[in-house]
Subunit: 443 residues, 2 copies
Amino acid sequence: GPPLCPPESALSVSRPTRCHRLQDSLFSSDSGFNNYRGILNWCVVMLILSNARLFLENLIKYGILVDPIQVVSLFLKDPYSWPALCLVIVANVFAVAAFQVEKRLAGALTEQAGLLLHVLNLATILCFPAAVALLLESITPVGSVLALMVYTILFLKLFSYRDVNLWCRERRARAKAKAGEQLPGKANGGTAQRMVSYPDNLTYRDLYYFLFAPTLCYELNFPRSPRIRKRFLLRRLLEMLFLTQLQVGLIQQWMVPTIQNSMKPFKDMDYSRIIERLLKLAVPNHLIWLIFFYWFFHSCMNAVAELMQFGDREFYRDWWNSESVTYFWQNWNIPVHKWCLRHFYKPMLRRGSSKWVARTGVFFASAFFHEYLVSIPLHMFRLWAFTGMMAQIPLAWIVSRFFQGNYGNAAVWLTLIIGQPVAVLMYVHDYYVLHYEAPVVGA
Amino acid sequence: GPPLCPPESALSVSRPTRCHRLQDSLFSSDSGFNNYRGILNWCVVMLILSNARLFLENLIKYGILVDPIQVVSLFLKDPYSWPALCLVIVANVFAVAAFQVEKRLAGALTEQAGLLLHVLNLATILCFPAAVALLLESITPVGSVLALMVYTILFLKLFSYRDVNLWCRERRARAKAKAGEQLPGKANGGTAQRMVSYPDNLTYRDLYYFLFAPTLCYELNFPRSPRIRKRFLLRRLLEMLFLTQLQVGLIQQWMVPTIQNSMKPFKDMDYSRIIERLLKLAVPNHLIWLIFFYWFFHSCMNAVAELMQFGDREFYRDWWNSESVTYFWQNWNIPVHKWCLRHFYKPMLRRGSSKWVARTGVFFASAFFHEYLVSIPLHMFRLWAFTGMMAQIPLAWIVSRFFQGNYGNAAVWLTLIIGQPVAVLMYVHDYYVLHYEAPVVGA
């Protein structure tokens, strides 16, 4: 630090008579001081302490609510009937159907007939599980969400499968027209790996590699990692195990009681209490979402990729530094973002749509799938998820218009932290009214 | 951002068949990525939201508790008797006594007699208000804390006044011995300001300038600021006004109910609830301490300094970046630190004490004054404040031994955030037991 009494040394024989000098306080703007790095540590300590207290308060109030057995009941109503699993197994039929159409398209089938068959197949992939989930009594909401997710992923993957094979056929046709041109697979040579070119890719092995690979975009030659790193895989598997437990524990111990406590204010339309409950729910909800993000996009996807020696591990980018809503949506979920860009946004631009229309189209599709994955399992069509996704367009405009830099980043965090629990409370409230209120009125 | 599909441009006629490349996830250590600046914004947003919720919860639970009239009752029991103010006015007697002793020391009085008179005067300054506060029924705890603080400051100032005048006399004697040597006041010439040299400084004007100046260390020629900046002064005065309101409001609305709620767990010795209450109290206590710090060390002291054209505005340094407990104590309260260094630590070293003994001496003196300012107003001798200050020595050793850099900084914050409410709860609990428990047992 700077010396206290500049004119004299500490232990000189002549005693210090001068010990003040003309200077400004550090907080005065004239001082030019701006080293506040201690504040970050302060924030971290305060956050940990506040949440330690909430954790302790929760334990005192509710005791231990974590119950692994109860989790099973979310997936199964009857231990001898596994409708969600059956649905997932049936999904293979649609994958095989798409494969067979492609196999025939590579041969004698016309493009029009192939398109029709693909459209029929893809439409069935979305409608069949929805119908089963709506009509079957024995399926649980959680089970049907999982089954619908598998079907949605299958839909996106087969859509990409068809698109890429179509592009390959178009390229082959052009290459035949201009004979002597290089084949696309050999264009970036120099790699030791043997490149597969159309139609050699049309094998079950290749299809199932793609269906299990952690990507939604089909490619004839995926980049492959040289070997399975056993330590890396083990770490990811342990993370998967531990974080699953943690998420279940946090939901049972923290989310469920908070949501249950917020039903009464909602019934009474007591606005200050609704906001208080909303803010109380925001913390565990956000924490669980962050853990889920790491668990799914880092642990699970890397584990799968490591097992399959899938080389491209970019499952997320640095969305935590987002200074705009658009940047967040472009960077938090790269598999979906890549799919939207390659099979929806760019094809729309190529067909002459404006950028704005194409972007709105992407958000519309995303809103549709969000609603699809929530409404059907809950047997409840409220459009909250749809509205939430569509609201991102004006929100993105507002944030980019009024907030830049760190303020933009804080605004994105705020919409994440607050937006999600609003949607959660909306659905839970409506679900509660539908299932627990009506009978009381009837009685 | 980086391009999604490096090998081809977005809208080329040939459709993209390659869109993956070999790369690591950002969280993998191999990626070398470490840009997490968004996390600071996340911390800030989370802290604001958590506290907004606590604020709302508090308002719903207690309603508005802020009551400016009630504040007056803390200072006065009887509106026609102002014992604390009378005590403060009487303090002038001791200042004048010290001045008269110095005046005579500059003349014919011997050093021994002067020392005796000064010791008597300084001892009375500490004992007289303590006796009044203990014996007088009409004085309130808050009133007597304020009076004792004024007397403590007076004690430190007059101690410094005596020391500096003694040094000047010693220097004068040496200068007379070695005739022809320069006088100290003229040693650093070149300043346009007329320098005062001993014994011309011994005037009431000079004494009262020092007594009101925001420093505890006497100097014959304080650095002076050229003019009173009216805008600066107005801003500081507005800050003083607003932050006083805020502190009173936060104490009434947040601290008092939390402390009251923590009495029952303390009585029952319910440890998990005691910890929960402690953590709950830590947040408002820390916030109020931070506001107090800014209010006192920036607003008040700068306002006084501006009014008096006092030039040295270094009332605090960057303690928020402290990586050790020692650094914190050396930097958060510069007037007291300067006094301790100049009139306690360095004189002890000059007398041959080791650094370790001198430092322990400083903490011991500080512990004494902390206890003095708490025990006497509360009429309760528990040594919690004394123990708290003395505990800083082993604490400083532990923190510097086991934590460095940001971890050290976090450890300092933790001791600040947790240490203070522990002491507060200790005193409040004992005060509560003494004043509200005993009668019930007797009844």
